[in-house]
């Protein structure tokens, strides 16, 4: 892995931004290798200065130490644990986004990209749009 941190642009709209401090656009950095159980303890998202090549096997990883390449599912947990301000049930349900929330990866419907299993790349743009708010 040449990149250890992925810089991502995240956008929330359609009313979903209300759960994220009423801010539509966010920039986050997440590790390119993450625990397979999606745990996002602060140690998993180390500041850039602390990054070293042994991150995947660092002792703070999960007990089993199993890792995977960062995917959209991990990103959802990360956003839930670090950016979401209220009412988690309106964002995630059963390990994925709540039905009725659309996800676009670089402007493409995530259903064409493997949904939660899409492996994130540096500078990806991910948009979450709620369709559940009034029309």
């Amino acid at each position: 892995m040449s990149t250890l941190l992925l810089s991502l642009k995240i956008e929330f709209s359609g009313g979903l931004e209300l759960l994220f401090s009423n801010q539509r656009s966010h920039r986050v950095q997440i590790p390119s290798i993450v625990p397979i159980d999606n745990s996002t303890s602060p140690s998993a998202a180390v500041p850039a200065s602390d990054i070293s090549m042994d991150l995947p096997t660092s002792p703070q990883s999960t007990d089993t130490g199993k890792t995977k390449a960062a995917d959209i599912t991990y990103l959802m947990y990360y956003l839930r644990d670090h950016l979401l301000k209220e009412r988690v049930e309106l964002f995630m349900e059963g390990g994925t986004v709540r039905p009725g929330i659309l996800v676009l990866i670089n402007d493409t419907d995530w259903e064409l990209e493997g949904e939660g299993e899409y492996i994130l790349k540096d500078r990806d743009e991910v948009v979450f749009i709620s369709t559940l708010h009034g029309g």
Binding site: G14, G15, P99, G100, L102, T108, L112, H133, G134
Partner: protein, 357 residues
């Protein structure tokens, strides 16, 4: 997953998967099929004729914003010859409707369509904020629903329009089918999938997005960068509809065609004549002239309750009896201005309520 090419043009990269068909298509083809399907819905149902004046019920939300954009596009592309208007109702909900009305005002500029805003305050003398302060959050949706329906008709009458189109989409209609089944409301089940309804004294109403999935409407708004407003009403939303909606979204996640299939089921029900007949004969409200199934229309009944400080009188039988026991309405009671239907009272006035054969 390797990028795939569009299933329709085979040239551009697919950007979205259509929930209705599972097809993977590119942005350009998506705009084209979405707009063309709405056009087909309009022409197959013969919704309009050249010269019609049509008001778009505009809330500033995603559905009506996309509807305004698509109506304008199709009117130009296929030369429908329609005179379009935006019609917005200001319910008087601080922090909710006042913000969304700003969106509608921008839409007026962006689409160059004239806008009429009619407020509950000017029509009924009550804002929703004032109503909620009197009735609380429990039954306020009843007031809002009844008042909005009549306000749209009255706004349309002021504009002299023949027809109101609303942004109700396939998801909304499937939800209503489910709700009518769960409530055992078979008469409504028989009507709720109609694309166009017309009351004797009311203006035609139709739903050009009847077969348009919410997902596609939102994608359309996103790809076209349309300016819309999204927030939940600050007063309690319709809880029963909320359950139907969550259920429907779960079904859609498992099988995307569920929405169109439920609409199809709703359309295929044949409601027995005896069941249809349980609808009361329509008459004209004695106080305000609006169509009604009783001597007083629902809006006048609700308004009288508010004015006399017994807001629940139109909601529970017990409160109604209490109101009646206090005698007739005082002469100086605030009433809704008398309603004059624009042209419905003309040659075609005898059309049966909500039953365009």
């Amino acid at each position: 997953m390797p990028p795939r090419n569009c299933a329709l043009c085979a040239n551009a990269r697919a950007m979205l998967k259509r929930p209705k068909t599972g097809q993977q298509i590119c942005r350009g083809c998506f705009f084209y099929v979405f707009e063309t399907e709405v056009h087909n819905t309009i022409t197959e149902a013969k919704l309009f004729k050249p010269g019609d004046k049509v008001a778009i019920g505009a809330s500033g939300g995603k559905d009506s914003t996309v509807l305004a954009h698509v109506m304008k596009t199709l009117n130009e592309r296929y030369q429908y010859g329609l005179d379009l208007f935006l019609l917005s109702i200001d319910e008087g909900i601080t922090g909710y409707r006042d913000d969304s009305l700003e969106t509608v005002k921008r839409n007026q500029q962006q689409y160059d369509i004239p806008l009429k805003i009619l407020s509950y305050d000017e029509l009924y003398g009550w804002t929703m904020d004032a109503i909620v302060s009197q009735v609380g959050k429990k039954n306020n949706c009843t007031f809002c629903g009844v008042f909005r329906r009549q306000a749209l008709d009255r706004g349309a009458a002021t504009l002299g329009v023949d027809h109101i189109v609303t942004g109700h989409n396939a998801d909304d209609i499937a939800e209503t089918v489910l709700m009518n089944i769960m409530r055992g409301d078979i008469a409504r089940l028989g009507r709720c999938t109609l694309i166009c309804t017309q009351g004797e004294d009311t203006i035609k109403r139709s739903k050009p997005f009847k077969y348009a999935y919410e997902k596609e409407i939102v994608m359309y708004a996103y790809f076209k960068k349309l300016d819309y407003f999204s927030t939940e009403c600050i007063y309690s939303p319709d809880a029963y509809r909320g359950h139907a909606r969550v259920f429907l979204k779960d079904l859609e996640a498992a099988r995307p065609s569920a929405i169109i299939d439920i609409i199809h089921s709703g359309e295929a029900f044949e409601v027995r004549e005896e069941v249809k007949a349980t609808q009361k004969v329509q008459q004209t409200c004695q106080r305000c002239g609006y169509m009604s199934s009783n001597e007083l229309c629902k809006a006048c009944t609700l308004l009288e309750g508010l004015e006399r400080g017994m807001a629940n009188s139109a909601i529970t039988d017990r409160a109604r009896k209490k109101l009646d026991a206090e005698g007739p309405a005082p002469d100086n009671l605030r009433t809704i201005p008398f309603y004059r239907a624009p042209s419905a009272a003309g040659p075609n006035a005898s059309i049966a309520v909500e039953a365009p054969s």
